[in-house]
């Protein structure tokens, strides 16, 4: 990680080509250095932060005055940073019989601040939670005493989590966990606080900025979806081909505990929806043996979406994993104990994240915790099903090889789709796809749950969601369409994104038929589409022309009255 001076030098570098994001910073302590660190760290994340910083201690004035600079600036994100030391100052001034009310009073004031911001701005609020201060008035007994400051502070942090879990526009940046990682003496320097009203030490600013940028870039659709594991000395200790099944170190053998705990971590990631793939230099049958037979293995073959073990070079193997999963290299993490393999992969596939694992496997987990690789802004039940979906995809790929005629293959799949408008049941999944989907996304406009809810209730839009089920299994919700009623004649395709899992199934034709049917039933004559290029969606470039749209300036239009229903093998599920 770069230190503060290096981040400060970043500020002078060239940010052109990066996405610009408008961010407001509101704090009750001095935030100049934090702001500089955020801009500098933005360079590391490929984001050009356009920051407006409120004057010191102006949170309430900026938020409650509708004509304030905050609302004039129209940020997309608002950081609200209330420091623990200010909270302590507030507590100190309370009468003893008011101590127990501190946390609940703060929560309701934070709730009002957030709702005022989000009601008046199309913005998300990032709230920094509270780093712990034990004022040592009660000692350990603080934990048993509701009126102690520590009790109130922890109650407040917990209350924030409850608040954030209910409020789709409120996100917490976990300052408290940074302090747990580095310790309070690193996080906070009393002399600096007394002299300057700054509560974050110079040394910790890069960590805080990185944690904030992790959140912002994830909200902008940049995050990790897959972890690729090496086996020997990464997933277990020893070399399976040399040492044999009985002698590899997992469980209680040797330093097996380190590998078992690592495997539990990977398993939890898999349960959260991260795809797990294996890339190992081994004979496949030998590499699979521990997964099938070793009693102490935590990971099993059903946890692995793609298993590649051969003697080819790992960069090529990872390219193959990428082509099966159909996700960007920049959403993949490769873990390998061998520096040589790491370098080969890094040199050949620069987009992929290859952490420099410590030499001692005992250090793996703490090192990986510190990197915060798997930041996410959503979690749905479907995430935990993802492994199964990709395994089914691998099966489908095998079946596809048997059918030389693609039509025969598609017919044979017996595909059915449920078409429904956006509703409260599918909103979380649609919002999530809106964040995740990169390749099959015509305009890449990201919508949060709150946005989706607002659009579904508005009379200016028609919305459709599509599921796809076939004889191998249910893909779940895989496509969403938002049509904006531009005028009496024209429907504008504001959003069209699809999961890459269902490419080449005729889904595009099925979706367009559905759109045209809707247009005809509601008296619209023209459907207008737009393609906004990004680094990830070049394969959508000719999407509209391929579907029979005519080019019309920067847009594409389709005349509904001369439309020929497009053939496909998907039936509507009732």
């Amino acid at each position: 990680m770069k230190d503060f001076l290096q981040l400060k030098k970043n500020i002078k570098k060239d940010f052109s080509g990066f996405k610009t994001i408008k961010l407001a910073v509101l704090g009750d302590t001095a935030t100049q250095f934090l702001t500089q660190a955020l801009v500098g760290q933005g360079y590391e994340h490929g984001i050009n932060l356009d920051i407006w910083e409120a004057d010191f201690n102006q949170i309430e004035r900026q938020v409650y005055d509708p004509s304030s600079e905050l609302y004039g600036f129209k940020p997309e994100y608002v950081i609200v940073f209330k420091a623990s030391h200010k909270l302590l100052g507030k507590y100190n001034k309370l009468k003893p019989d008011e101590y127990t009310m501190l946390a609940s009073n703060e929560i309701s004031s934070i709730e009002t601040i957030c709702s005022t911001i989000t009601n008046n701005l199309d913005a998300k609020v990032i709230y920094y939670n509270y780093t712990e201060i034990d004022d040592a008035i009660f000692g350990n007994h603080a934990n048993k005493t509701e009126s102690s400051f520590l009790y109130q502070l922890r109650k407040l942090n917990f209350g924030l989590m409850e608040l954030a879990s209910k409020n789709p526009n409120l996100y917490l940046c976990d300052l408290s966990s940074i302090q747990n990682q580095v310790g309070k003496p690193v996080m906070f320097q009393p002399a600096m606080y007394i002299n300057t009203e700054m509560v974050l030490s110079i040394d910790i600013l890069p960590n805080v900025a990185a944690k904030t940028l992790d959140l912002i870039s994830t909200l902008n659709g940049k995050f990790k979806k897959c972890v690729i594991l090496d086996l020997d000395n990464t997933t277990w200790g020893g070399i399976i081909g040399d040492d044999g099944l009985e002698n590899i170190q997992i469980g209680s053998l040797g330093i097996g505990k380190a590998f078992s705990e690592f495997q539990y971590w990977v398993k939890k990631l898999k349960n959260r929806g991260i795809i797990v793939a294996i890339c190992s230099k081994n004979t496949e049958s030998v590499a699979k043996e521990p997964f099938e037979k070793h009693p102490d293995m935590v990971l099993h073959l059903e946890d692995i979406s793609v298993f590649i073990a051969n003697w080819e070079n790992k960069a090529d193997n990872i390219r193959q994993i990428q082509s099966i999963l159909n996700i960007g290299f920049d959403s993949m993490v490769f873990l390998d104990d061998n520096p040589f393999e790491r370098n080969i992969v890094r040199e050949n596939i620069p987009e992929i994240c290859v952490p420099e694992l410590p030499e001692d496997p005992a250090d793996y987990l703490e090192f990986l915790y510190g990197l915060n690789l798997f930041e996410t802004v959503s979690f749905s039940n479907e995430d935990s099903e993802r492994t199964k979906l990709y395994q089914i995809e691998a099966e489908r790929a095998k079946t596809a090889q048997k059918f030389t005629n693609e039509d025969d293959f598609l017919k044979n799949l017996a595909m059915v789709s449920t078409v429904a408008p956006f509703n409260k049941f599918n909103t979380p999944r649609i919002a999530q796809l809106s964040q995740r989907s990169n390749q099959f996304n015509l305009r890449t406009v990201r919508y949060s749950e709150a946005d989706i809810e607002r659009i579904s209730k508005s009379g200016d839009y028609a919305t459709f969601s599509f599921t796809l089920e076939d004889k191998f299994g249910d893909n779940g919700l895989i496509c969403a369409i938002i049509l904006q009623k531009e005028n009496e004649d024209t429907l504008f395709v504001d959003t069209w994104f699809m999961s890459c899992r269902v490419l080449k199934r005729g889904m595009e034709n099925f979706v367009l038929n559905t759109i045209v049917d809707y247009a005809k039933e509601n008296g619209f004559h023209t459907i207008k589409g737009e393609y906004i290029p990004t680094a990830k969606n070049p394969m959508m470039k000719d999407h509209y022309p391929n579907l029979g749209f005519d080019k019309d300036g920067t847009f594409f239009t389709l005349d509904v009255n001369h439309y020929q229903t497009k053939s496909n093998y998907i039936k509507v599920k009732n």
């Binding site: 100049q32 320097q189 002399a191 030490s201 110079i202």
Partner: protein, 79 residues
């Protein structure tokens, strides 16, 4: 460490922190003599000096230095 050696180290820290190779400090140099030396940069300088010499300044020291010579006094009293 002699006062001169300390001065050289402090000079390097100023150059690095302010990203300006032309800074030449003397014992008599004051904040007003160096363009970039404002209250914000001052904090970065303090943290960098503390790190370099592995010392900690007291809050009242940080606020009361009049020139580089007094900073060197503080440093040499701690190493």
């Amino acid at each position: 460490m002699t006062r001169n050696e300390i001065l050289t180290s402090v000079n390097e820290i100023f150059i690095e922190t302010m990203d300006n190779k032309d800074i030449v400090l003397e014992e008599k140099t004051q904040a007003a003599d160096v363009d970039e030396w404002d209250s914000i940069i001052h904090i970065l300088l303090v943290v960098a000096i503390e790190k370099k010499f592995n010392i900690r300044f007291a809050s009242n020291e940080i606020q009361n230095w009049k020139d580089i010579g007094e900073i060197i006094d503080s440093i040499s009293s701690k190493i």
